[in-house]
Amino acid sequence: MTPATQRPVWLIGLPFFLCLLSPSVFAHGVDANTERFLLTNQGVAIGPFLYIGAKHMVTGYDHLLFLVGVIFFLFRTRDVLIYVSLFTLGHSLTLLFGVLNNMVVNPFLIDAIIGLSIVYKGFDNLGGFRRLLGFQPNIKIAVMIFGLFHGFGLATKLQGFSLPQAALWKNLLAFNVGVELGQFIALLYILIVLDFWRRHKSFYSFSTATNTLLMTGGLILFGYQITGYLING
């Protein structure tokens, strides 16, 4: 496999991958059918909640952008596992805690912070903090803390509906497991693409541009959510 033959494949593959992602831009949150189901559902529904959780993650571009940022420079499988586990631990904690304790967090603010988490990671990947502060803020702790915020984001999505209190934890757990399944699936795609890209020089020549774009994406999400907060409170 010479780079010459790989390049066209890559060029064809990229738009295709983006096409796969683009519908998700409109599918974030919960669609009408899911909403209807959640509103009328009264009992334990493991299957549906698993699915809703997985779908939320696979189509949740904010979580995915953050994950791209986190694993962008992780070359070893072990590191990927460690960081993704930290992220998972973080968001599971707040998802479970937030829903079970009926913690009310403004969804716009939480989503704005999630946007900022992407900006942070993009800036971090540019070596920004080491340049400005002179040291590297602990990456693991940062991932964990932002994971906590992402979990609150997940919790607010679920809390928008009247989840039956009776067997709440069962549905919640199903949702959480679904989220992890969805994350695993999404991660596979991201890793395949990144791994493929890393074999090419373009990865290194475009890594600055990519992380700049990551920051752009985060800033757009931030602006979008903050405006929503200002308008709808």
Partner: protein, 210 residues
């Protein structure tokens, strides 16, 4: 590579990266996201590209979908200072314990939006002889309503109407004459959406919007 060691960019390229990210994000936000999502269009570009229509449509779409967002816990204004515990609606709640509570401590409270010019139904499943105590009020406008029940499994389209009127509120207690779905049909004949808050208690199972 032992740990993650992303290349540290020079200060200049950091500034360029941050500035261009901010600039690009602002551009996209102002020209596309804000017009399309919220109808905020300072540059007029959104209107030129027809994006503001999108936000108008989303508003219309969210209005045509009647959203029930349960009011939890039950409206404190209507209860005389008693501690409210999270009550869960039970399909087989004992009617005796329900009778012991003298004050209407609502079991469920739901906010229903009826879009302009449309009608919708909200129902409960009741067993024969089961009681449903209710009180609903709109945010002002009067709605045509039909409070009725259908026998379980009936395919003929038969229903028994308990109350049919046009009003902005109603309350009472229903003892189900037969087993099956019971509830309201509301029709909004006005030009703007009307929000109803429906409070209920009794032994029933929520079927919700139909």
């Amino acid at each position: 590579m032992n740990d993650i060691n992303p290349p540290v960019q020079s200060l200049k390229s950091l500034i360029i990266a941050t500035a261009s990210a901010t600039l690009l994000a602002t551009l996209i936000l102002i020209s596309a996201v804000l017009p399309a999502e919220y109808g905020i269009d300072p540059t007029g570009l959104g209107k030129m590209m027809g994006l503001t229509a999108l936000s108008a449509q989303t508003k219309a779409a969210s209005q045509s979908l009647a959203i029930t967002c349960p009011v939890l816990p039950p409206q404190p204004a209507e209860i005389s200072g008693q501690d409210q515990n999270h009550t869960v609606n039970k399909s087989t709640g004992s009617t005796e314990t329900a009778k012991k509570e003298q004050l209407p401590q609502w079991q469920d409270s739901v906010k229903i939006m009826v879009p302009a010019g449309e009608g919708l139904e909200y129902k409960f499943h009741l067993a024969k002889g089961a009681s449903l105590e209710y009180s609903w009020a709109t945010d002002g406008a009067k709605l045509y309503f039909d409070f009725h029940g259908e026998p379980q499994g009936d395919k003929t389209g038969y229903f028994k109407s308990f109350k049919e009127s046009t009003d902005n509120q109603a309350n009472g207690t229903l003892t189900a004459p037969f087993e099956g779905p019971h509830g309201w049909y509301w029709e909004n004949k006005t030009r703007s959406p009307v929000t109803i808050i429906l409070n209920t208690k009794g032994s029933y199972r929520i079927l919700g919007l139909l």
